[in-house]
Structure formats: structure tokens, C-alpha cells
Amino acid sequence: MVVIGIFMVLPMMILVVFSFLEADPYGGVEPVFSLEAYIQILYEIDFDDTVVFNPIYLNIIARSVGLALVATFGCLILGFPVAYFITRQSPRNQNMLLYLITLPFWTNLLIRTYSWILILAKNGVVEQPLLALGIIDDSLGMMYTNGAIAIGLIYTYLPLMVLPIYASLEKLDFRLVEAAHDLYAGRLKVMREIIVPLAMPGIIAGCILVFVPSLGAFIAPDLLGGGKKLMLGSLIQLQFSSSRNWPFGSAIAVCLLALVMISLTIQARSAGKRRAMEG
């Protein structure tokens, strides 16, 4: 208990406390209570102390949530068929494929994201053959867009979607699929009526595992978005490094935490309701 307390709660407490303090311009905090950090998220405080509504951070929050949703959806669309495919292989091949899926996770994320720059860049791996074949005659301008960030996020978090879905599909009794076929359900109907509902716990777990870290991601936005398309993660990171506004960084982190907790609560509620229904 004590260990959990020290490792889990203490850093959080510090974060929350910092968010209510005043910033030291040289980094760190001054021990003076202030709500300024939170006000700063929505309003700009001019030099003459007038408070003006400032949507810039709200935009960043909205973009973060939007991109995280796109990444989650993208991972789901790609991850579900992959997970399903893996469960239909022989046990030996299943282990091999799972190993391959998790392999990138053990190498440095920075380096893997850099390689996406090579792929998406002007005259990069994608564009060169298209240019050479004359299919396009100008750069597609894929880098430094929301699309590039989304691709980076999907790539990064895909294994976190595949693994929980695999785990729940693997438990699925294939004889239920036979029973559904027997009762006149074609392939699509079986997928919709039997496989997806029974894999739902895995799908939800995968979505949370992708959505939450996507919200706070900063490597993909920095490298593939060129730092122009800020996301929450990059914004927080900025406050602790170059901007030296620790309270503001903490305040955004607390907001992020709140967003995550709200989505987790909604999920837990609906899961609880479903469990109650299933008995």
C-alpha cells in the first residue's frame, strides 16, 4: 500500500499542487496560491490585467481529442481484422504473429517515428515511385498535416488495439459461429451479431488503450506535425521545457487527466450495465 501510495499518488499530488501555484519565470514554481494557470487555458491575461477570451488552447484540446478519436478509429478498423486473422491461424503461427506485432514496441519510438518522416516526406519513399511513374507530378505535401500525425499515432498504438481484441476473440467459442451459420446467418451477419458483440470487452479495452495515450502523445505531433499542429502532449511538454511555465503545464495535465477519467467512467458505467444485463 505504501509503495503504491508513493509511486502512484505522490507524483499526481505534486502535479495537482503545482497547477495551483504561480510560475517562476526561470522554471519551477513559487509557493503562492493562484488560479492563473487554469484561467490561462481559456483566457489571455494582458499586461494591463484585462482578461480576453483566447481559443488557442481550446483549439489544441479539440484537435487532440479529434486526432485521438481518428487514431482510435483507425486502429480499430485495422486492428480488428488483424486480430481476427491471427485467431484463425494454428497456435504456433498465432504466437509468431503476436510476437511480430509487439516487436516494434521494443525499439525506440523516436526512431520509428523518424522512419515515417522518410516515408511521408517530400520525395520520400511514397512519393518517389509515384513521381517516377508520372502518377503525380508534384509533391503530395503529406508531411506536417493532421493526416501525418494520425498515421503516426495509428502506427504507434496499433499493437495496443490488436492485443486486447485478440485476447477476447481467442476466447470466443468458434462453435457459436457454426451455430449462427446453421441458423441462416451469412458471414456478415455472423460478424455483426456474434463475433463483434462477444469481442466487445476487447474492443473497448483496445479503444481506451489507444485513445488515452494518443491524447497525450507528443512525439508523433512534434515530428510528423512539425510542431505546428500542437497536441495536448506537446503543449504540456513545452511548458516544462522551453516555456518554463510549470503551473500551466500542470493545469493542462490535470485537464487531460480529467478528460481521461470522464471517458473511463463512461466506459465503466456502460460495461457495468452490460454485465448487469448478462447477469
Binding site: R175, E178, A179, H181, D182, Y184, G186, K189, I194, P197
Partner: protein
């Protein structure tokens, strides 16, 4: 295949091999059977003889390794399971765990695009049939094995398929319920005109419900016939042994006249049986004689053809006696306990044996 056309199901020389190489299992070995429309047909056989495999081939979950299957005269090799007018009651139930009983039973109808009110009506009707009205809103996990089995039955019945495959559908029910369900199923089958292909281990079930029975063993059909045929006229040792109790008596053909033979066995017994197979006078054959066909009479120790009772076992309705015909030939006789008490004889009593002509059967092996 003119004959195949009038049948609900025609299985022609079907072979099913699982796996390949040295580990291959031959589940069905050249099985041929014709099942008529509106027939209550039972597959009876010990565990692992291929009953479920034959049903799975019919439902379309497996493809035969060899041979052909016709459903109402139509070759069905390329017809996927969801296009076959066949429903299955699975041995392992296979109820959908995320659906209520009502949704489970309505599933087939929903897939057939019935409208909601018709589905509702049919589901209630079917629930009533299996006496499970009170469970409509339960999930499978909230029911006992026997209750789940009845829902599995209801789910397969609801769409009124042309052919219903039942894989041991009553095995999890208690005796009373099983007997009641036998009646219900039989009535239902007669009323709906659905062809039933019924799998069971239980010979009593097979004998009481079926129009015809196929006795299977090790991937092959040993005999097909009406219950009476199977019980009274078993073809071979396996069938005679698997269904009911039988005395196997080694006998010698003493005389042949037309299609009848007179056989003699140790202890001075003599039987008149129909000839089976290619035998001639003097050959040794195996005869099957049901214990209840033997009539016992008290005899004096010296009487010709009498024997000593070695053992008596009281079974409630009857008593069985093991009788030593000679030093090493024993037969079992079954005698109904008509009078009150333990049975008419005791171990050590001398009895003489009588049996009606034709009660012993010559077997092919």
C-alpha cells in the same frame, strides 16, 4: 440417383477422414443411408463411432472426403450451412451467451427476415412447447444444463426446418423430463412433418421413438431397420450386443432345409433359425438369444436337457439367472417377477429351458 430424389437425405458412400498422414482419423468409412421425408431416423452407436460427424456433414460444417450427400435430391456439396434448410440441436448446446433466451430462439427467424411480431409469436409458441416460458428473459449462463438443452432444442425448432438434426438432445435431462420430452418430440415430429435425424447413445430412446434406426460402429453402419428388426433380428454380433442383453451361443448347423437351419449347441440345446450368410451343414455359427426369450421350468435333477442355476440376481421387475449348460457354457435367462418375492428359483435349482421357434438368431459373424 432417381431414388435419391424421393428422400429427405441421401448419403452415398461417404468417407470422412480428419487430418492426414499417420495421425489421420477415419470418422466415417463408406457410409450410405437414405432417410425418407417425414421420418424419425435415429443414429445409434457408441461414443466416437461417427454420429456427430455424419450430422456435421449434413449441416455443412464439414465437407466429405469422398462420396456425395443429397438433400431432397439436390447435391449439397457447394451449399453453405446458412443456405441449407437444416437446423441442428448441438450436443454442446452452443447457445449465444450474449443473448437472452428469447433472442436465442428468435435468431434464426431474424436471419430469415421475419417481422418482429411473427418472431414474437413463434418464440412464445416454441417456448411453451419446451415448457420454458418462465425463462424468456434469462441469459444462457443463468440456466442449468437441462434448461439450456431445451432452449437449444427450441432454437433449432423455431424456424421449422425441413430436416432437424438432433445430437443427443435429451442427454442432460432427468428421467421424468426425458420421458415427457420423448413424447413431445415424437408428437411434434408427426405434426410438423419435419424429418428428424436423431443421435443417441440410449437404446431405449432409440427403440421407443424411431421409425428406423441405423446402428453404427467405428465409422460404419452395421444395420438399418425398424426398432423391431434391430432388436429381434440383429444381423451381427455388434448389433446384438449393443442393443439389449444377448446370449451368444456357439452352435453347429445340424440340418438345413430351405432358408431354415437347425442348430445344436452344448447342453443338448437345439434351435431352429433362419439361415444367414453362406454356411453349410456342419459349420460352426454364432447364435444370439435374448435372455427374456428363455422360459424356465422346474426340473428334476435327472431330467433330460436340464441345467443348474449358478446365480440369481434380483432386479425388481425381473430376476436374471445364470445357468450352466455345460461346465463352460453359461446362458443368462430373464424371468419376470410375477409373484411377490425374490423370483421363482434359487441358485442350485435344476431347471429346463424352453424357447419359441425363431427366438434364436443366426449372426453373420
Amino acid at each position: 440417383m432417381a431414388e435419391a430424389r424421393s428422400n429427405a437425405l441421401s448419403v452415398c458412400n461417404v468417407v470422412k477422414v480428419f487430418g492426414s498422414g499417420p495421425g489421420a482419423v477415419t470418422a466415417l468409412n463408406d457410409v450410405s443411408v437414405n432417410i425418407e421425408a417425414n421420418e424419425f431416423f435415429t443414429l445409434l452407436g457408441p461414443s466416437g463411432c461417427g454420429k456427430t460427424t455424419l450430422l456435421r456433414l449434413t449441416a455443412g460444417f464439414e465437407q466429405p472426403t469422398g462420396g456425395e450427400i443429397f438433400l431432397f435430391g439436390e447435391e449439397i456439396e457447394n451449399l453453405p450451412p446458412h443456405h441449407r434448410p437444416v437446423n441442428t440441436v448441438f450436443q454442446h448446446y452452443a447457445l449465444f451467451p450474449h443473448m437472452t433466451v428469447t433472442e436465442n430462439i428468435g435468431f434464426g427467424l431474424k436471419m430469415l427476415k421475419w417481422n418482429a411480431s411473427d418472431i414474437q409469436a413463434r418464440v412464445s409458441e416454441t417456448l411453451a412447447l419446451v415448457k420454458m416460458e418462465a425463462f424468456a428473459t434469462r441469459k444462457p449462463a443463468q440456466m442449468s444444463g437441462g434448461q439450456q438443452q431445451r432452449i437449444a432444442l427450441a432454437r433449432a425448432l423455431a424456424p421449422r426446418p425441413k430436416v432437424l438434426l438432433l445430437d443427443e438432445p435429451l442427454s442432460a435431462l432427468d428421467l421424468k423430463l426425458r420421458q415427457a420430452m420423448r413424447q413431445e418430440l415424437k408428437t411434434l415430429q408427426r405434426e410438423t412433418g419435419i424429418t428428424f435425424i436423431f443421435v443417441t447413445h440410449d437404446q431405449e430412446e432409440a427403440l421407443t421413438m424411431s421409425d428406423r434406426i441405423a446402428v453404427m460402429s467405428e465409422g460404419q453402419i452395421q444395420q438399418i431397420g425398424a426398432p423391431l428388426d434391430i432388436y429381434e433380428r440383429p444381423l451381427n454380433r455388434f448389433v446384438a450386443d449393443f442393443i439389449g442383453d444377448t446370449n451368444f451361443i456357439t452352435a453347429r448347423i445340424a440340418a438345413i432345409s430351405g432358408s431354415k437351419a437347425t442348430c445344436t449347441a452344448g447342453g443338448g440345446l437345439s434351435f431352429s433359425t433362419p439361415m444367414v450368410g453362406e454356411h453349410s451343414k456342419g459349420d460352426t455359427v454364432t447364435l444370439a438369444l435374448r435372455p427374456e426369450k428363455i422360459k424356465l421350468k422346474a426340473a428334476t435333477a435327472r431330467a433330460k436337457g436340464s441345467a443348474t442355476i449358478a446365480n440369481a440376481t434380483y432386479l425388481g421387475t425381473d430376476t436374471t439367472y445364470e445357468i450352466a449348460l455345460t461346465r463352460d457354457v453359461m446362458v443368462t435367462a430373464r424371468d419376470q417377477n410375477i409373484a411377490a418375492g425374490m423370483g421363482r428359483f434359487n441358485a442350485g435349482d435344476r431347471v429346463s429351458l424352453e424357447f419359441a421357434a425363431g427366438s434364436a438368431r443366426m449372426l453373420t459373424d
